[in-house]
Amino acid sequence: MNSRWTRKDLVGLRELSAEEITLVLETADAFKQVGTREVKKVPALQGKTLINLFIEPSTRTRTSFELAAKRLSADIVNISAATSSLTKGETLKDTAKVLEANHADIIVLRHSSAGAAHFLATRVRASVINAGDGAHEHPTQGLLDLYTIREKKGTFAGLQVAIIGDILFSRVARSNIFALLKMGARVTLVGPSTLVPREFEQLGAKVSHEVDEVLPTADVVNLLRIQHERQRKEYFPGISEYIRFFGLTKERAKLLKPDCLIMHPGPINRGVEIDSELADGAQSVIFDQVTNGLAVRMAVLYLCAGIATP
């Protein structure tokens, strides 16, 4: 199954080919069925040790990786920022060396610095899976988004995908842009000009600040979480103005094609980037994404662990 997979690590989707992305998605198909069985466990990673190294807080992604690893029968340890030696001044490099000295086979890293996964991957023999590095990439989120689109739409060719929200600071957006374009979809980024700068056009995406023009043509809308009070104060005037210009309200949702998918990587700000009822509506695949995330992460762990040399 993994004859075409040659990577020890999954750092980003920018470096993957369309064939490699397809291979992950096909591998995930097989693992998705495991989740529907009475016994949700396969012995694929029996005897392997996986460390969830989460330097930046996360519940959803960490839980998904933990469940994925357990279903593959790996042994798993969770390390969070609060409990790691990094708070005592240990460098990321030394932390990684310690984990390696403890015979870790796979390190799943969540970190607030762009490039942290690349940094680690080039310094340890273990597989490094990027679970989000700063505003750089979140490859398994990108893959699960693609998996969900493929599951519902069957193909990527010619699909119009609109990603709406805080693009500048979003690793989810970047992973989606890189992978979707490779798979033949077209990507339009929508949001305030401060959070969707024109430089993104150089990545091959379209940039728009007119959400009402984009929605009628979209086959998929992927809504990203908006954070205002905490860190983005100078980027736009406030939540109510955001909703006025970019929020997916019920009124705006009428512009959507009936079969347009509504996606969100979570956690959702109900009533901000998306109307609460829409999040639970017929077009929403938000919770399919979560389920698919498990299968995709099982596939990624399985493929990368098969390459790493102990």
């Binding site: 460098t91 762009a114 940094f119 505003a135």
Partner: protein, 437 residues
Amino acid sequence: MTTLIRNGRIIDPANKRDEIADILISDGKIVSAGSEVREQRSEIEEIDASNLIVSPGLIDIHVHFREPGFGWKETIESGARAAAAGGFTTVVCMPNTSPVADSPSTIAWIKDRAAEVAGIHVLPTGAISKNLAGEELAPIGSLAQAGVVAITDDGRCIQNNELMRRAVEYARMFDLPVLDHCQDYNLVGNGVVHEGYWSTLLGLPGWPGAAEEAMVARNILLAELCDHRIHCQHISAAGSVRLLREARARGVKISGEVCPHHIALTDAAIENFDTNFKMNPPLRAQRDIDALLDGIADGTLEILASDHAPHAKFEKEVEFDAAPFGIIGLETELGLFLDLLVHRHKTIGLPRLIEMLTVNPARLLGLEGGTLSFGTPADITLIDPDLEWTVNAETFESTSRNTPFDGWKLKGRAVRTIVGGKTVWASADSLRTKHAS
């Protein structure tokens, strides 16, 4: 002691000399080659400079020798050796040490230490503001008396325009030039690279050239207001060059310097998150490089410097945004400038290059040296402009290894560095000289 440097191409821009001739050194000073010293002395050391350039000792007005306080990165001793190996006979140290060079006692310590361990001239600058905090003036007059050659808050930039105005006005009284690391902190934000295509692609926080340009514009206005010299350090952005060009044409006492990395590399180099490409100001875009080259060609930018900024491997080998800014540069500086400006881009010729590395910085800071005038101390650099060599960081004299240029093939470098008539560094090949008796 008498030394004869024979048959070299003497390039001495201050004296408008460019000719094949001999240079005679007696008792540490340059004397007329035809003078009687030659006959009187029985023992003359001869240095064959055939096919070499005989230049005034090179001057770098922007280095960080990390003492006091950060000796594991670089000491005055190791920094001076690195400078000598790069062809430099005079360097000017920035004040961001620990303690900060904002008091006469720290300046005295640096000068004593340099006199003790450095084979070249290591000259201190003083801070503009106490502890580089940008809040109140350092004792600028006392620093001047203690022997600083300029004041600067390099590494930081005074954001308060009123404080900067008073600093420039006050420094004028002591004829001390003010050097400024131009950056507007609000525009820099938490940036670690140039804002553009690569920051967008990699998700690294960037800052635009405008953050530098805003402060260059501020400095132009203050230099005019105070009628005193402000020198803008390590210019990286196209707009800064345009602003400087316009102001200098009007006779404003403003100048700018260029570092090798800002013309050798674009921000594309950060693709693999290698922290040896992280410096402040950051590597920018090709259009910025083009503007810097234009500025060098037309004289808008008249000084070349390294911003030699040593950091230990353990400090640099961390996440990109956590790593300190800066790279070492003294041992690659001349090679890069020769290779890029003279050979590859043909931006300027050798005489102009040497002017930008000798008499121009000497004039800016009022330093002795920078010329081969008779009677001046024999600080001389012998340069082989066509020697092809490969950068090997492992052989560096610097304590640190944080260079992005390891493995680069360059054309041209210094082969011998002479301070006060004494060879303080020579390449292995050039040491095979005749010692006539």
